[in-house]
Amino acid sequence: MYNINLNSFEGPLDLLLFFIKRDELDIYDIPISNITSEFMEYLALLERLDLEVAGDFILMASTLMQIKAKMLLPKEKDEKGEVIDPRMDLVNALLEYKRYKEMSEELSIQEMQERRVKYRGNFIGDEKKDPDELDALLKNISVFDLVKAFKSALEAKPEEHVHNVEMFNVTIEEQMTEVLNKTDFGKEIKFTELIKGMIEKLRIVVTFIALLELIKMGKIGLKESTEFNNFIIYGTQNG
């Protein structure tokens, strides 16, 4: 990759590392004057192409010039009396950046390997059954939930049939049979579906009592539905 592929420079640090590598420079002793002029040539090239030069590159150019100027001045010393190399911060930044650039190579390897692996694709065939102990069944449903669902079912009914006082024969036993038929062989039915089409409040009330009776007998189970004020009824007997 010694061809200059500008697309692969992720920023000024990357470009500087490229120069260092290409010219086999000692990173701890960068010829700051040379590298600054290389860097400036690159910026000039961008300008020649009439392209907007990214701020990050301009910032680096000014940093390089600052270092270059400092190199010409008498050396500063720290508290211990040791000479401060004006290039030190830049060198540290380059090394730290290089470190993560390496790690991105590692990630790239991981990425390639992982792309060759596929996870299981579809799950529609899996047999699923909710745990069928009574405890688990009623775990998240309280009597309060039942009453709430019942109440909301009643409230949702249109009021117009209130005056139609009719005689109709519906018994708890009949409704129990109906519920059992609908939940035969472990089939499931939503409460709202069960009472769908029941116009008379009395029929809903009787059905509800039938439900309570069947739960008591352990012939059906209830479980939570994702819908508000609804629950799912299902048979616990196979046939």
Partner: protein
């Protein structure tokens, strides 16, 4: 048919997102191994039967089923209880989009009443509120002084912990969110075009210098 194809067919069915028809299996194999590869629908059927016998012998928890004109892996019925429990736990655990939306409104507008939340969301939010209360992500803190004195909801410490925040004011500000999500595609596109242009020119220049060792 070479026995290697048992494993290839196994891999294909395993990784397919849909039940995989015989024709697709043959197509994939011929595409990779060459169109002259001798493999017929009968071979595929035989291979699946062979695999299923092996799973039976080895007491694997899964088999290959014929579903909707294709083959798909499925766990066996014996394990339905366990699998069912797992999936019910999972569906409960995931914070749905609706719950998240409700939570977001409460987090940013707290303290807030349920009617206010419902005006903002435009839907009844009883179920969501219950879910969030159950998960201890929100709680009730007093009543509003307005008519009916509705309950006021606030987020909990659990909420802060979950999102790694010290206090509520640490939530990203709407302005910050805008900034994070702002459409930077434009800038990136521009950069790419620019880079491609320069690349060409620089490569020409470098080539003419003549001293570049070309690797890769």
């Amino acid at each position: 048919m070479d026995s290697i194809y048992h494993s290839i067919i196994e891999a294909l069915i395993f990784s397919s997102d849909e039940p995989l028809p015989t024709s697709e299996i043959i197509k994939a194999i011929k595409e990779i191994d060459g169109s002259e590869t001798a493999i017929t629908p009968k071979d595929v059927e035989a291979s699946v039967d062979y695999l299923n016998e092996k799973y039976e012998d080895d007491e694997k928890a899964f088999i290959i089923k014929r579903i909707a004109n294709g083959f798909a892996f499925a766990t066996k019925q014996e394990y339905a209880k366990y699998v069912g429990f797992l999936s019910s736990v999972k569906s409960k655990r995931r914070l749905s989009q609706a719950a998240l939306e409700t939570l977001a409104i409460i987090a940013y507008k707290q303290p807030i009443t349920k009617p206010e939340i419902e005006v903002l969301r435009g839907v009844n939010s009883d179920y969501m509120m219950n879910t969030l209360l159950e998960k201890n992500l929100i709680t009730i803190k007093g009543r509003a002084e307005t008519i009916g004195r509705p309950l006021l909801y606030v987020t909990t410490d659990e909420f802060l912990k979950y999102f790694g925040l010290h206090k509520i004011s640490d939530l990203p500000k709407p302005r910050e969110v805008d900034e994070i999500m702002k459409d930077a595609d434009f800038i990136e596109e521009k950069r790419k075009i620019m880079m491609n242009q320069i690349e060409e020119i620089v490569e020409n220049e470098v080539d003419s210098e003549g001293d570049n060792k070309s690797e890769s």
